[in-house]
Symmetry: D2
Amino acid sequence: MNIKEVIQNAYHKIKDIDDKGNLASYIPELENVNSACFGVHISTIDTLNFGVGNYHDKFSIQSIAKVLTLTMAYNILGEKLWKRVKVEPSGTAFNSLVQLEVENGIPRNPFINAGAIVIADVLLSNLDNPKEDFLNFVKTLSNSKEICYSEKIATSEKSVGYRNAALCNFIKSFGNIENKPSEVLDFYFNLCSLEMSCKELSNLFLFLANDGFTLADNEQILTRSQTKRINALMQTCGFYDESGEFAFKVGLPGKSGVGGGIIAVHPKQYAIAVWSPKLNEKGNSYKGMRFLEEFTTESKLSIF
Amino acid sequence: MNIKEVIQNAYHKIKDIDDKGNLASYIPELENVNSACFGVHISTIDTLNFGVGNYHDKFSIQSIAKVLTLTMAYNILGEKLWKRVKVEPSGTAFNSLVQLEVENGIPRNPFINAGAIVIADVLLSNLDNPKEDFLNFVKTLSNSKEICYSEKIATSEKSVGYRNAALCNFIKSFGNIENKPSEVLDFYFNLCSLEMSCKELSNLFLFLANDGFTLADNEQILTRSQTKRINALMQTCGFYDESGEFAFKVGLPGKSGVGGGIIAVHPKQYAIAVWSPKLNEKGNSYKGMRFLEEFTTESKLSIF
Amino acid sequence: MNIKEVIQNAYHKIKDIDDKGNLASYIPELENVNSACFGVHISTIDTLNFGVGNYHDKFSIQSIAKVLTLTMAYNILGEKLWKRVKVEPSGTAFNSLVQLEVENGIPRNPFINAGAIVIADVLLSNLDNPKEDFLNFVKTLSNSKEICYSEKIATSEKSVGYRNAALCNFIKSFGNIENKPSEVLDFYFNLCSLEMSCKELSNLFLFLANDGFTLADNEQILTRSQTKRINALMQTCGFYDESGEFAFKVGLPGKSGVGGGIIAVHPKQYAIAVWSPKLNEKGNSYKGMRFLEEFTTESKLSIF
Amino acid sequence: MNIKEVIQNAYHKIKDIDDKGNLASYIPELENVNSACFGVHISTIDTLNFGVGNYHDKFSIQSIAKVLTLTMAYNILGEKLWKRVKVEPSGTAFNSLVQLEVENGIPRNPFINAGAIVIADVLLSNLDNPKEDFLNFVKTLSNSKEICYSEKIATSEKSVGYRNAALCNFIKSFGNIENKPSEVLDFYFNLCSLEMSCKELSNLFLFLANDGFTLADNEQILTRSQTKRINALMQTCGFYDESGEFAFKVGLPGKSGVGGGIIAVHPKQYAIAVWSPKLNEKGNSYKGMRFLEEFTTESKLSIF
């Protein structure tokens, strides 16, 4: 059975299961989405491109953008970046504030909100036109010109983003935010509002399967070692409080977003994006998780 | 450069660095060890066996034994096991008691002490002669008859094991320990006192690189899927509060012990054991970590 | 309206309310009590003795005993005692383990279990025959020879006392317990099993209203300043996570036990004991709290 | 020895001790104060007014203002107020964020910053001209027209008030703040900037010793029962993580501020204000605490 067949089989098997997830409710605008959408797209380093379902539709990538800001910041600061944020898995959201307190405002990793806010602050300090420059970086990586922020989503998130405002001010109180909290938050909410399709996403993330080089232009985005490290980080911290479960069941580095998207990377082989808007209780796409479990089990392509 | 050369080069490079670690001080007996010892041994699924330095010397494997009890308990209970313990990374030791409280006595994973104590309780309930049966299981896996518990180490650890006694009683108060705390602890301290050499260790762990089958007898210990899951767990939770760092720098599933041993597994390829008694501030072998970082960088054999 | 009338009125008003409390369920033996019992007894420093209802019946004083062990330990060690335990209110049970961790095993105050266990350890180190000597001390204070431990209650509590065992071992791991945990716990469970009547209790606690002197023999148990301090401690820490509420509504120093007893002291004036076995959700006697609120409101005898 | 002599003796005894405190450093402007200042003033309900030292000098009352906003909010909302904030002592600052999380954004009491911010929000929702109305309320209570906010202090505090901004946004995320965080914080920083002298403070707080009535005009500010409750709250929660110690050593309801002021109330008798800018490690005036301990010991006027 080749990889296309594995994907098609898994897609059809999962498409019709009872979707026990729920739409993200905390960002008002995210509820305005067709919850029946379900798309998958794979891009391999030997140039296979294959999609099923709604793989052309754009959706809000949300936290998946944290890998992209991290990549850009890592590219700029190099290893100095790790003075501002650590690389250890975090326990529950519940603990994150205590840990910030105990660890003097240094977030546990760049994928919890606290860490992603610090990364946003790093970019804000180092880019001339942060929103524009970051968008251009994303366009280059994905080899697509049709990627934009969603003003509507950003505004919607900002209108209820009190917890992120709390985190940002808390970290600022420890001196680990350089810019004004209001500016950091404005930039942060914009990042999360990026809209992309499964196809664009899997194309974009292919550089992480390709030792840090874009496939289209063979441009080096990160060193081999840095690429390995981003993958390791996605493996240990990419799925909130379900990172262990994901490693356990799927066994690939990856990152999810509350828009229902998941990206997973198999080093040296492929990047695969899946999108289904309803989330399980840990905040990850219900069908997306199920699909990837099925996919790696059948394809035997887990890294473990 | 072949793998033997990579190991030899890495060994000699790390052997002479300034060892910034310290001997484990909390178990009195563990301080009576020659801190200059340094050994490495690799076993590959294509039957290479190669060691450097003190790879024949026995040392106290301590927490590495947690992978072995987990394997045995998983073998017995199957997926039911995960009702007793989760598979998520834990934050700091600091948080573990709070997390037990919030999560009703279900430990975050089988490699933190709380989880390993629950696993010990599972074995106690399911084995006729727990200590003997477990030892035989270990002997079978490693294809070596010369493995024993160290009574001295077990007694030494017991004499200061108040924190583990606290954990065990705390979990018992939530109903997640079936046996008497004193009996669970007695068994637990024994497990951790197992003594093995790097050679025995890498031979033993080879089944995790070999889809769950022992190499010597081709005996199936775990299913393919269970094997993958143990590897995933070692990846996300194997190094206390340095699991992220280890994934980040080394990029292999593994497990460390405060005796200074580390085992790492490259699925489908090899198991490698390293031993150097002095620990870094996170409780992992200082030189062991450095060696493995050097080894995977040079061999390009990380999974990421 | 004199004080007897206030008590009688309050007693009859509260006697017939709907008792929304529940019997303590975590100690099996404590459930074998007549939940309709309701007794009150006041002892004043001008020698009034007055009771209503079941004030002659014995009940398990449980945590009220913590004031008595504290008194005895304070008497023995003086101000040095405060190196072993602090005098600050604690938040929820939930936090107590974290606080022990952060504060290196020094409990927040002598009335949370952690603190009372440390006090038990102090007595164990300083008394020749701890159980006997403490019982004699209590008999002297209360001017009653008919006070005993309940072996049945102590055994019942011990059979489920895993959380206290956890606390004791945890504190021991920080070095703040001198004796063996099993011996400290044995003594501790015995202390809590003391049985007394409301009459005996209010007689006993009168020394705290009388500047530290027993009323019967004018024997000095504590200095004036020490007495003031015990009262202050009961005020701020006497009612678990309802200490603020009790100060807010009743306004007297006091201490409750899960046997349904409450003692309250008005310095320079009186001690009043009330008993009704059903507990509110914070673990304090439902009717007892209501009675004392009514009593201090009507008598205008709050300290505030 | 009459009360004036007790005060004079205590004042002179404490004046010359080595001041081990330090000026509050976290609000830049608060460091610009003469640290040698030391003043005391008592106001009794039988109209004694007596001061020593710098009792006419104005200082920043900071957190002492929390009692005044609480009084005003309690006056407006009555017992409904306690749905927004509890009355239990809090543990350390360290725990406050966890407790907010566990208790769904309901602060433990109105004197920790979280609680005082909620009280500020209540006033903001209920007053036409919050800053002006509150100032007038304070002027009425103290019978002094010369009380003002310090714009300089408010601005200074705002410039570094990230932790309060974090708290306010965090509580808002739970829905327990009605107004915009920026407006609540602006009002809150103003409240804390009130400047008063010891004389004005002790005059003002006399209503809490006088069953809720101002002494000058016999105007009822709070009911008898409400007054008792505010006193109880000051007793259990008035001194950050030193509330137990203060009850233990001084034995009066009271409130401190990081400007170095302390107010203490003896119900039915007097209010006493003391000011000395250097703070002990818990954030309370070093000499102020020492003076009050000496004063209640010598005057035997503790409530315990």
